[in-house]
């Protein structure tokens, strides 16, 4: 996993474009979605054979949601796990309408919860 290099890791142009959904998105519900791009650790299988490298924003819709997400860079996981590392069983409770920005290559959403996962590249 790569080290994050700060504010210039991703371009502002890229972030704003994707945050507005201009590059498409996935609706995630009751799934452990693993991106199939370059950041996927060896041995993992991409969900549905997708070619997405990472999601750049997660937006909770419809109802509140239990969400856990693995960042593509060290130490940025969205998780309540001790040590701050994605473990697949330590979701964060997010309120309907919340947006979490990042670059996440694995996102787990509880059943009957809905999240818009905006596609990065």
């Amino acid at each position: 996993m790569a080290k994050h290099r700060g504010a210039r890791e991703f371009t502002a142009e890229e972030l704003s474009g994707v945050a507005l959904g201009q590059n498409g998105f996935k609706i995630l519900e009751g799934v452990d979605f693993i991106c199939g791009g370059d950041f996927k650790p060896s041995g993992e299988t991409a969900t549905g054979g997708n070619t997405i490298n990472y999601f750049i924003a997660l937006k909770v819709i419809d109802v509140d949601a239990e969400v856990e997400a693995r960042a593509v860079t060290d130490g940025d996981d969205l998780t309540l796990a001790s040590g701050g590392t994605f473990d697949g069983s330590s979701p964060v409770s997010l309120v309907n309408g919340d947006i979490i920005y990042g670059a996440f290559d694995r996102v787990e959403v509880a059943s009957s919860d809905y999240v818009i996962a905006y596609i990065g590249k």
Partner: protein, 174 residues
Amino acid sequence: MSIRRVPVANAAIDYSQAGFIIGITLGAGSYTGHAKGFDGTGSQNFLEFLFGVECSGATSADNTTGTKFFPDIPYATSIFTMSRNSIGLPMSAGIQCKNAKIEGVTTFGYTANQDNIARSGIYDPDDGTNHIFIDYSDEIFGRFSRVALAKPVLTSDRHYIRITKGIDWIRSCK
């Protein structure tokens, strides 16, 4: 396809400089579809907006109470909800959106993976259990070629949304 080819300035979307449409459904209202709408002719429990090629040649002259055509706009870029109930309290609005495919970008599969705004992932506004409910004052961004606004269950309630227009079809081709 790269994100750098996004044809609309993001600030323009944010501030609705591209224009917008207000959609309203009343719980006590009745909505009749057009033959080119999702449900065809007849009564329906939603108001549908069609953009660009989805209009299949229809224009605003063909509008009905349940189907509105915007052939000059290829897609909408955001849905902002501002519904209130009969006593003025904020409430969520049920919507469904069909995603506009981004032309020429299937090679890398980024946008080929995009979904519709719907619980099932399939645009089907005729199915009331398929609506996604968006909170008052929340906004959903994307590229939507069809937008459906559900009719409220209670006759005294009203659903309001603001749909932000995407690029101008004619000017974008020049």
